[in-house]
Every structure is written in C-alpha cells, then in structure tokens.
Symmetry: C2
Subunit: 390 residues, 2 copies
C-alpha cells in the first residue's frame, strides 16, 4: 500500500520568453538591496547579466561572483559577510545549479546565528529563516530553482554536504528557455542525464508502492527527456526542446512526482566520489554509472520495475518477456546516453583506472557501511559497479 505523504511547493514560476521582465516587480516586494550571485562568464558574454542589471536598475546591486561548479563553504561565508555588511534584502542567482545552490546557502547563512555555513551543515536542522531567494536558471539540470536544498563543498574536510528547509525554497524563479540556448551540447547532455537520474535514481526504481497516477507521470517525465534531449543537442535554439527540458528539470525535484516514495540516491552516492576524486562533471558520471548499476541490480525481483522503463519509456512492445525487456531498457539507456547524446561511455576513456576504487567505495557507503537504496550496496558491490564502468 502506498505511503502517506505531505506535499507543499510554494515557489512562484514565471516561465517563458520574457520571464526576466517580471523581476523588478517581484523583488521590489522585499527590498532594494540585492545580492547578485553568479560565476560563469557566459552570463556576461551572452548579455543576460546586463539584462538583469537593466531590469533591476532602480535597485542597489552588489555582486557576488565567486560561484564555482562545486560551491565552497569559505565562499559562502564571504557571501554571508556581504549580506550583513550591506544589509542585503534579497538574493538573486543567475546561472546553473551551483549559482542557485550558492544563493540558497548564502540566504540561509545571512539569517543564521553563525557566520560559518558549515555550522548549518553540521546542525542538520531545517532552515526556517533566510533572505528571499530569486533564481534565473541558465541550464536544465538540477532543478534547484524549485527545491528547498543546497549542496556545498568543504575542501578542508573533503566533504560535500548541504542543508535544506522551507526557507531555502526560491520565492520566485524566472525560467526563460531562451536563456539555455547557449548551453553547449556536452553540458546539455549532462543536464539531461541529471534530470532523468533525479526520477530514476530517487523514485522510479524504489521499494515503495507508488501511486499509480504518479508512476505514470514519472514514465512521461522520462519520455519527455528521452524525446527532447537529443533535439536540444542537435538544435540548441529549439524552443520546444529547451522549454520541455527546463520544466522537466524542475519537475524532477519539486516533489510533485515524489509523493509517498522514500527517496534513495544510490547512483548519486557513487557518482559523488567520481566528482570528488576526478572532478568529473556530475551528469557525465551519472551517465556512465546508471546503466551499469541497472545491470548490476537486475534480477528476478528487480526485473519488473526495470522492464517497465522499456515498455513505458522506450516503447518496447508489451509482449516482450520481462527479463528481456529489462535488458532492453538498459541497452536503450546506454544507446541514449552514449550514442545519441554523445557522452563518453567508459571511465578509461577519461584516464581513470581502478587504483582508487576501493577507497571511493568505502567513502560512498559512508558511516553506515552500505548505500541504502532500491537494492542495498556494500563497498564490494560498489567496487564491482565501478569496474563495470572501466
């Protein structure tokens, strides 16, 4: 029987070609002193930075330009300091998941009793107070623009953790698919894999009974990405492709489809080690791991859920036997990620060998000594899966 659940997502979304034009009206409800949070040079190169400044010309703007692919806790502390010093009243992220996560982390820190964001990580308490957060996503990937958590890295302790809470959910997100037109093919592919993984890894394969309607919506969510990611890679300015991917990214993590399903993240846990040790792009690490993990956990018990993906996402005829269909789902996933989207399929192609697999596997399993998930994985299992990726 399905689990009970609670659901709420308060973020307001302005979606479309002129979404950014609504920024001044939305932010002015909260104040005049605004911290702009960004990092990548592309927002300046392609004019989005100037567009936002023009839109917010009547505000007092401060620049935090320290955003990096894995936001660092020392940078977040600097952002917190800026908020206190300048009396910041709203935080605006312009960029991908790292920019939005940085804005959230800073917004929470600005209202906290500490000046060190890592104290909030270690306190493990939901963040109930933060500056209002606004997001202008420039990539379809993490869906951070509609969720309530952030991930930050501590280079001193080599940890990648985060905090979350209702106050970290963006107040308004301005989602203009044209702001993702300039995302290169490789990043587009990695983002698409990330979107799919948020459905597959955390809920599509799971031990819990899912509500029929939501399970069906997950099928269609995955089909949406399977259909449009290749189009976006081939035709970067295809509005329909970019719009579907951008909205799919938000839906993957905004809790709509998750209701009643305990969320696990087996592949994410294994991937974090690839990112940490080899600085691999997250979506690419997921792409390499995901089909191998599916193959590793495939057995008579798991076959029906994996086969569903063949029938409902990849349109494999319903009369194909379950085990065969499950294998087909894995093949179709590999074909999509590696052939159609063009991502390298093996760790060895990226200069990675097995020398650190044992250590990485232990870290991936953490203090529990096991990755709890759809199928629990021990360090020995994880090493085997890493080896399948070589």
């Amino acid at each position: 029987m399905m689990n009970d659940f609670s659901f709420q997502n308060t973020t307001k979304v302005h979606f479309g070609k002129n979404a950014v034009d609504k920024m001044a009206a939305e932010i002015s409800k909260y104040g005049k002193k605004v911290l702009l949070v960004y990092g990548g040079r592309s927002i300046k190169k392609y004019g989005l930075y100037d567009k936002v400044r023009e839109q917010l010309k009547d505000f007092e703007l401060y620049d935090y330009d320290l955003v990096k692919p894995n936001p660092r806790h020392t940078d977040i502390n600097e952002g917190g300091r800026m908020c206190r010093e300048y009396g910041i009243e709203a935080v605006v992220a312009i960029g991908g998941g790292s920019a939005i996560d940085s804005a959230k982390a800073i917004a929470g820190l600005a209202k906290a009793d500490t000046q060190n964001c890592w104290d909030l990580v270690e306190a493990k308490k939901p963040i109930m107070n933060a500056l209002p957060i606004f997001a202008v996503p420039t990539m379809a990937s993490t869906g951070s623009e509609m969720d309530a958590s952030c991930v930050i890295s501590n280079l001193e302790t080599e940890e990648k953790k985060g905090y979350n809470g209702p106050a970290l959910r963006p107040t308004v997100t301005f989602d203009d698919p044209t702001n993702t037109f300039t995302v290169p093919a490789y990043q587009t592919a990695c983002g698409a894999v990330d979107i799919m993984s948020h459905t597959i890894d955390t809920k599509y394969f799971s031990r819990d009974d899912k509500m029929d309607m939501l399970y069906r919506m997950m099928d269609e969510h995955l089909k949406t990405v399977v259909k449009w990611a290749p189009v976006a890679v081939q035709e970067p300015e295809n509005y329909d492709a970019r719009a579907n991917l951008l909205w799919a990214a938000a839906w993957a993590l905004n809790s709509f489809m998750t209701c009643g399903v305990r969320q696990f993240t087996s592949v994410h846990a294994m991937e974090h080690e690839l990112s940490a040790v080899y600085d691999m792009v997250h979506g690419h690490g997921i792409a390499i791991l995901m089909p191998r993990w599916m193959r590793y956990i495939l057995n008579e018990n798991t076959a029906p859920q994996i086969a569903r993906m063949a029938y409902n996402v990849y349109d494999i005829p319903a009369d194909m036997p379950v085990m065969e269909a499950a294998e087909k789902a894995i093949e179709c996933t590999e074909e999509l990620f590696f052939d159609t989207l063009g991502l390298k399929s093996h760790l060895s192609e990226m200069g990675i060998d097995d020398t650190r697999f044992e250590e990485m596997a232990v870290n991936a399993c953490g203090a529990a000594g096991v990755i709890h998930g759809y199928v629990d994985l021990t360090p020995e299992d994880v090493v085997k899966i890493y080896r399948m990726c070589l």
Copy 2:
C-alpha cells in the same frame, strides 16, 4: 509555439490515512476560534465530524451547517456575519466541493469591506485577503481543496458565479482517501466524470500549443481516472482507487497541468443550465453532454486532438486512422460513463424534454452570445447539442 505562463500553488497537502491527525498542529498557527463549515449529514453519520471535533478539542469551535449543493449567497453572508461576531480566526471545510467553496466564500467575505458576498462577485477583483482556509475533502470531484476559486448561487437573480484570488487557496488540505469510502456509487461516478472533464473541457482539447510534457501528463491523468473510477464504484473501500481519484481531482485543477494553456469550459457552460433549470447533479450533466459535444465538434481539424485520446487514454492501436480513432474515443467515453460507471445516458430518461432548450442555450452563451472554446458555439449549436442528449 507554447504560451508563456506563471505558476504558483501554495497549498500544503497532508495526504493519507491519518491526515486529519495533523489538523490541530496546522490550525493552531493561526488562532483558536474556528468556524466549522459543513452541510451533509453523512459526516456526522460516519463519524468524521466527531473525529474533527476531537482533534480540535482545544479550540473554540463554531458551527456553520448551512452548506447545500449549490452554496447560496445569503447563506455565505450569514457565515460572514458569524466570523465578525465571533472573531473567527480560521475556517475549516468538511465535505465536498460545496463545503469547500462555502468556506472560501466566507473566508473572503470575512475580510472584505462589504457584508454582502455578491458585491465581491460583481467587483470581479482578485481576493487578496481572507481568513486562512483548511479543507477536509470527503469526495474526489471538484479539486476545490487546492484551487483558488469558489462558485456561489444567487437565487434572486438566478445567477451562479464566483470569485477567486490567491487568498482563497486553502492553506492546508487534509486528504484522507478513507474519508471517501462512504461516497455512494452514483456520486463516485459523477465525481469521476467531473475530474475528467476538468482536464478534457478546460485544456486537453484546446487551441493552444501544449507543452509536450504536460500534454503527456494530461493523458496519464485521464488514464488514471479511466482505470480507477470503475474500481471505486465496484469496491468502495479500495484504498488505491480512492487515493488515485482524490489526488487526480486535485491535480485536475491545481494548475500543474494547465501551464501555458488558456482555459475554456464549453461543456461546463452548457451544463450549468442543466443544473440551474433541472437541478441535475453536475457530474451527471457533464457525462451526458461531453461525448455529444465531442461528436458535434468532430471534423478534420479537431479529429487529431480527439483521436489522441483514443490512442493515449483508451489504448486504441496507433495504426487506426485518425477520424476512425476520434470516433472510437467518443464511443469509449460513452461506454465508460454510461455502461461501466452506470450513469443514465439520455436527458429523456430523467424526464427532461426540449421545451426550455432555446432559452437555456441563450443563457449558456451569455452576454457574448457565444461560448468561446476549443470550437466556438452559438445558441443554435448549443440547442443541437442539447437535442443530441435527449
């Protein structure tokens, strides 16, 4: 190209077998003086009323028991008076759409500058201020528990209109599928038709380009009802059936799937006249009208959208030609509503003849003289559709 859109739905949902147990904690954030809004005797008969009173035993409770199938504006005014007299701080609806709509109408009136709710109807301004609204739905039907509008009737002017605005969206809804176990087969069937109509009538058939992902979700939303409504009618205590229908009801109107689609309501406009003149149950009126309307508007332009329903909702093979598939979709809909769910299929079976059709058609078309929709309908069109229902 798809339209731009804005989306926000702030309602918190507690969904499951013990949802009502969370009432005291949620409502106590807003105050102690609570107006209980209900009407039907069934909530007393089956113990839900006592369960809510027990849950709220530390609150100061006032009873508004005037809810009727079509909430009357004079009753709402009485509710507003009670709120002012007793200093009500929160309004709790227990019941179906009429109870929840009544609570919303009262909550808005309580904070308005007038003591007559019809002034709010005529002002046609979004309601930005209201008492906090809490809902305990006992039927899967209108989805009022997650939307921001209410409909009330003025018996003096023979009008059925409403008001809406962000302040009318329930703060928290407590959705326990077991609270719908006692809904009789006929009401269950009418509710299911209502849920489907909120997707079909307002967005599934429409002139606007739909976002592919959301169009797919509409398919699955409809499939969910097609699958589970017959089960709920046959097995009233089937939890999965009741849960899927209850959540599908909310999703039909909580704006998730509507994004970017202008909403029309052709069938609803025609049905309002049946309800008004013959006091017909809304969902039953919709059931009789919907397939006839589909048949009336079927032509080469509309066939692809109607055929989609055959392929994607009723699992008709994709190689059936479009026009044939569109006709099949209409037949399947009739079969579902009339054979499987057991609703009477003709107005004549309900003692209704054509004597008032012309007058009703003029009223349905309103001041504009036309029902704007997927296909615009003149009074002559509407009379023809009514005749198809005889």
